[in-house]
């Protein structure tokens, strides 16, 4: 049931048309940031209003919607966006990655490979990968138009000379189809290889900065790197304490008052599904050994 006090998916039809036109141009020019007139949403900017507006423009009542925040479905932010669209668009919701037709995300790409029947919507805080080099929008726009990406490489190389490796571990810049340098939003660089050649459509929405950009399926996406320092999709060199996964991105969490620490999957649906299949991580083996 939708709440009739709202428009379908909250936004009025004219706003949705404007966002839809921006999405189409974004898909036609992969990695290019399309300006759009962002609307006030009934939530603060930090809560992913760009992603929410993109979701509002693409959802149909037939969709099954999932929201993840840092990989988890149960944070305040994820729960509130999910219930927002349950109420305003009447969509079914899920926490299972494979059951979702539209997934809105902040800071992660699900571990489970997405399919052609799915759409991934990113909440983007800062869409401009060149922003830290040049604060003026007029200048960064010019740099993109001229493919002036040398400074970006210099910045990454400074990391190498200072740290011995590229220290950027989130929002690691990528080049799309050998043309536009794009900010993949603050996903860990562990997720960067999933951006390219993905079967699902990827849409990026930045509310405060009023930008929409997109990656069509099967698009070439390359993380910037150097011959002598190739890109590495790093993660903690541990296994998940709960499900034993060796291939998933891990968060380090404090588990007790004594400051005990545990590495576990950041993608909670992935971890839950593995445990349901009977996989068990060393955290359980340890406790059995103690008992």
């Amino acid at each position: 049931m939708t709440d009739q006090a709202y428009n379908f998916a909250y936004l009025d039809e004219q706003t949705k048309r404007m966002i839809r036109r921006a999405i189409l141009k974004g898909l036609a020019i992969p990695g290019y940031q399309v300006p759009f007139a962002s609307r006030e949403m009934p939530m603060p900017y930090g809560w992913g209003t760009g992603g929410v507006q993109v979701s509002a423009a693409i959802l149909t009542p037939d969709d099954t919607f999932k929201v993840i925040d840092q990989g988890a479905d149960d944070t305040t932010n994820a729960v509130s966006i999910r219930s927002f669209f349950e109420r305003t668009a009447g969509v079914a919701t899920t926490t299972a990655t494979s059951a979702a037709s539209v997934i809105q995300t902040r800071h992660r790409i699900p571990e489970e490979p997405l399919t052609e029947d799915q759409i991934l919507v990113y909440q983007v805080p800062i869409p401009e990968p060149l922003r830290f080099l040049e604060p003026r929008e007029s200048e960064t726009r010019k740099m993109h138009s001229l493919e002036e990406y040398g400074l970006m490489h210099v910045k990454l190389y400074e990391d190498i000379s200072r740290h011995g490796h590229i220290a950027t571990s989130y929002a690691y810049p990528v080049k799309v189809e050998e043309r536009y340098v794009m900010d993949p939003s603050p996903i860990p660089k562990f997720d960067n290889p999933k951006l390219g050649d993905m079967a699902a459509i990827q849409l990026f929405g930045a509310g405060r900065e009023q930008r929409i950009y997109a990656l069509p399926p099967y698009t070439q996406v390359v993380s910037l790197d150097f011959e002598d320092h190739p890109f590495e999709a790093t993660k903690a060199d541990q296994v998940c304490g709960l499900c034993g996964a060796t291939d998933s991105y891990l968060d380090e969490v404090i588990v007790d008052d004594a400051g005990g620490r545990l590495f576990c999957c950041s993608d909670t649906d992935y971890c839950t599904a593995r445990r349901a299949q009977g996989h068990q991580g060393p955290a359980f083996l340890d406790s059995e050994a103690v008992a």
């Binding site: 379908f8 004219q14 048309r17 839809r20 898909l27 693409i58 138009s145 043309r179 069509p216």
Partner: protein, 200 residues
Amino acid sequence: MLADALAGGFDTPATQSAHAFRSVMEAMARPGAIQGIQGGAPPAPLSVAAGTVLLTLCDTDTPIYLAGKADHSDVRAWLAFHTGAPLTGPSHAMFAIGDWDALMPLSSYPIGTSEYPDRSTTLIVECAELEANGTTLRGPGINSKAMLSLPETRAFQDNRALFPLGLDFIFTCGDRLAALPRSTVVSRSHGEAAPAQGAF
């Protein structure tokens, strides 16, 4: 007639336009993939697909160019009532609609600027046929390759050469559509004869 102009819009605009947009988005995201689309009932000569795309994307902010037979008084009245979109010539069109020949020459449409390549025309091309054969498509959105019956090859190669500037195309036929964004690399399929030299 006024009564005709009032008919043929969406009965439930919010959900019908949402479904229709998903068809258009899937088409633009997957060049060459043919999608069904419905909801609009435009006057002749517009197809259901073309009329539904216009209802879904157009309003007072989107100047439309009606080319050739599409520039019909019934179409004008219908668009005015359901979209409020201003009519214009090709050089100011955000959307253009018509048969391929009527839409020519492509050089008359805006292709965007180097800083705003999105400010370019989307052409809705009414086609007598729309099939997954003829021309080979490669590029973003396409897993290896796709096939689509395009009205010609050369114009799309020239358009691709402008990337990231360029025009984007939606091909409509009955209640189906497919799209070809500027990013797609188009080549004549094996076995199709090359045009004779000097044909132009």
